[in-house]
Amino acid sequence: MSNGYFKIHRPGINSTFQDLGRFNLHHIGIPLSGVMDKRNYLIGNKLVENSNNISAVEFAYQGPLLKLQSTKVTAAITGDVNFKILRANSNIENGQCYETFELNDGDQIDIISTNKSVYGYFFINGGFEIESFWKSFSINTKAKVGPNDGAKFNFNQKLFIKNKESKFQKKKIEHLNSKIEFIRVLKGTNFDYFSEEAKNNFFNKEFIVSKLTDRMGMRIEGPKIENIVETNIRSEGLIKGVIQVPGDGNPIIMLSDYGTIGGYPKIGVVISADHDRLAQLIPGSKIKFKLVELNEAENLYKLYEIETKNILNQIR
């Protein structure tokens, strides 16, 4: 029997394949891409017994409605996600995140929404039958690079399944996505371009996540951040987490699909340990920044890694 597939009955808002990203191509203008929430990606792949380079389906706000045409597959969803399994025999089950479930021929999975968060992840044992591009399965819709011709999912497409059949293993873990009080940042390379008042406001006042937020970047609104030197710099390289402040005084935080070069002054950089939780903030969320030093940031990242490992070790 040929391999089965999921047919996309509803693509969702921004559903793509993502893995850990595409490396060493900044010099030709290709950003890292990759999952917005790395911890949830690692947990999901562990649940369905995949290695970490097997791509997941990442969705934002509303996920896809998929119908399985295949023999059995083992699947899991991570994040804070509301979903239902519509069985071929018309039974409807409420889905549970962070545990594996089995899908059979004709079953549908309806990923209705993420709860007070942006991104969720859908995994199947063995992954999908897709081709890597520049050693990554991540879809970069801006450069049109990756599987599916670099486009997000569309109606009536088929997602082919790699494994012919997988033996179901029930696995689960109790996991709560931790909320965040502060986004911790290091001083940016143009920190001194900003007035004392602007720097004070940046670390003491609240900002709101704007609707203009996607995989490329997050715009935030709050007190205008006044530049007293020059509102443009010579364009230079960017990385995920950089907070640029354009002339209008509203900061933009670079996320996974950032442009590789930018010409706005950098007031700060979000520490690596906070990237996952930052990406999960929905438009309208309040956000406060806290200044940390490099050695603190390095220790916080080690802590983040230990926590992640502990969670993964609990999955059996």
Partner: protein
Amino acid sequence: MIKNITNLGDAAVYCDFGNQIDQETNLNVIKYFKNLRELKVKGITNITPSYNKLIVSFDPSATNYENIKNKILDLKSKKNQNQNNKLIKIPICIDEEYSLDIKRLSKKLKIQNEQIYSSFLDKEYYCYMTGFIAGMPFLGDINENIRLNRLETPRVKVPMGSIGITEQFCNIYTYESPGGWNIIGNTPIKVFNKLNQENPTLINPGDRVKFYKINKQEYKNYNE
């Protein structure tokens, strides 16, 4: 030489080669870029050269700032880089359908269209960097008589293949994209070809570029 080296966040090293934007500074940046790439240092995830900066990002699970900084400072950048830089000829069609901002340029600079083009076509340009969008080359320096700021309000969509100028630079839009450069023409050449996985960018940092004029008919026939 690197004038200043510091951290950019907890996962990148920021190397500043000085405020001067010229080819000598940029060649130095590119030399570091190439030498560092050859070393294949464990943990480095990206090396991004620009006019006068080099940003080296790394995976904080695999290494740290101090380590990568020392690797960069240890580089023997004196090593003569084999100069395999190319001269690339790029056709440009300046038909009014493609030269979206020529009127604005002519008006603001107070010179005739023909003079703008002869000044532009006269020079050979140097590629400082590629990026922002995939494969977009940043070329320079254009003659002083045709330098102008960006559009006050950037276009939401600049057509693919557009050739734009601003300040001392010139670029080519490898994709349809938002942008604020003054568009003076369009090229039928694919400057970025993702299907060529080994060598997707036609123009690489350090290369030289010369533009030559083609007419609309030649433009239309170019890819046949």
